[in-house]
Symmetry: C2
Amino acid sequence: MTIANTISEIVRIDLGDRSYDIVIGENLLGQASSYLHLPKASAALIVSNTTVAPLYEAALKQALSEHFKVIHTVHLPDGEAHKDWVTLNSVFDTLLAHACDRQTMLFALGGGVVGDMAGFAAASFMRGVPFVQVPTTLLAQVDSSVGGKTAINHPMGKNMIGAFYQPQRVVCDLSVLKTLPPREVSAGLAEIIKYGPIADMAFFDWIETNIDALMACEPQALAYAVRKSCEIKAHVVGQDEREAGLRAILNFGHTFGHAIEAGLGYGEWLHGEAVGCGMVMAAHLSEALGFIDAAFVKRLTGLIERAGLPVKGPLLNATDNAGKYLALMLHDKKSVAGDIKFVLIEGPGRARVSVAPEATVRAVIDRCCA
Amino acid sequence: MTIANTISEIVRIDLGDRSYDIVIGENLLGQASSYLHLPKASAALIVSNTTVAPLYEAALKQALSEHFKVIHTVHLPDGEAHKDWVTLNSVFDTLLAHACDRQTMLFALGGGVVGDMAGFAAASFMRGVPFVQVPTTLLAQVDSSVGGKTAINHPMGKNMIGAFYQPQRVVCDLSVLKTLPPREVSAGLAEIIKYGPIADMAFFDWIETNIDALMACEPQALAYAVRKSCEIKAHVVGQDEREAGLRAILNFGHTFGHAIEAGLGYGEWLHGEAVGCGMVMAAHLSEALGFIDAAFVKRLTGLIERAGLPVKGPLLNATDNAGKYLALMLHDKKSVAGDIKFVLIEGPGRARVSVAPEATVRAVIDRCCA
């Protein structure tokens, strides 16, 4: 596999009048040229969090000052535990305190949580204002900032309240990944690895070959992985924006993963860690249902482990662990009429969404948990 | 003017794949046939309030029982003062407590507040579930249930948080209007009268002729007024779903009206009362800017008065009343970059959105307030 020169590449998300570009490259965040040709607006609001703002907000503000007369900022508390209505409301409070109008453009500067909340704020403020994603984690660059899913959590379920709302642009600055803690890099790799078994085994081969370079955040390797991930996601989302069918395959590993996150309490494991482990469990379920062989499960598990991710599910309940997982998965958004819908690997590079017999699921959970 | 036989008429809202029908007629709410051919779902949630539910929920539930296996209900506290996040969240709590899935269909049974909140809940729950409007006030039947505007209030502004989200159907049962208090009838007539000066003077003539029949809730008169109002609104919304331009003319009277509602505290005046008075003020402003003559202002004011609506604005501040109105109007969603956008009558039956000199607006407020 060759790694193309990927500095400042563009991946187009094709959604008719909601189409937009993902711009990928080094040192993009602080360049005014990254924000050319956006809809006209006099004011911008940078939505960031208390961890990311000190690192990158000044550079973004400087770049935006060439395009906007006024730039406001709001800093959310860091972490999935704050992805709730109270935090979201602080964005609305800021917008209204500054008398922002319906042309105000929001900039989501941060990881998936900031992107989800700034996106839902943009979707809802005055019934919709434009926004731009400036993801600063690997996970956000390859997954959450792309495709228009925005949401907050409800005490009874993750991402239960939100909107499909597309950004005007996604600016993926690879340079910011250099400051990312290793645990966050691994979490991002989970979503990158995901694209292999569901859609593209050649990419999976490439990840296996380059996993050490990716773990070390080598720019060329990251650039290729980000671009490829965005291309695959763009292709899927372009066919099914509102998750009527196909798009659900992007949730491979997420049904078990959400149960882990909810069962441990949001924020205990990173989302990517839960997805990594969830993919192992979903692969075992696919094997138990006869779709794939043990060798492929072992190969996928090995790569997930090399990416520094957990491959054993946590115990969520001492007396009926499988029952606890099942109860939590029943609240997954893919569940319909009391049936849990799993994303299964039909064969390497091909996914399907399907129900599964409870006994089989219980056996898989028992086998996969520590 | 002849009044057509309007029992069970259909007005189509043409919005591509978001198109839907408004069904207008007597005794529709409790008939199973009113809910045929909706998307397949196993569960329904009726969202109503503590005033309307005792009157109509049983009949709706009975009718829906032929289409849904399970029907849940949630009763919101009555009134604009409760159109907030806390109340909205009670809808999400109910949906999640019953493990509702993303096919669950919401039914908004009530006036504008219920419709706005159930609609926004439907737009946001799991990023969007289908919903049906069953408006039980005249105002909701001729205005708020049609066109897909949903929202809740923020302490700093009305309808500041919401979505453009279209229902699957609107079922306008004229029979329910018989139990409506006279004050609510008048409030609904404000939005009916509105369609005349902005779009259709023949309809305005008809309203003038039939105002007594409308005040008395005569079914044939109401049926014609509801259908005609929905047709005009459908025509405008069909051209500009997300209020990029033309649709804003439907806010005639609403800029001053929102200031009245916010200044007095939401719920003090009914929305329709504030709009009625706001139309008088906007007409005076249109005259002051030279668009229409005093005779037309007088004619419009006379009809609004005959409809039982206030025509003098309340004093919102003892020392600088006009300044208070201006400050409140600056928070209106139509305002852009610090300019208040007014919907003005350019000539009878024709509206435009425009800024106005502050001195002129102040003079109009001084002249129009009690």
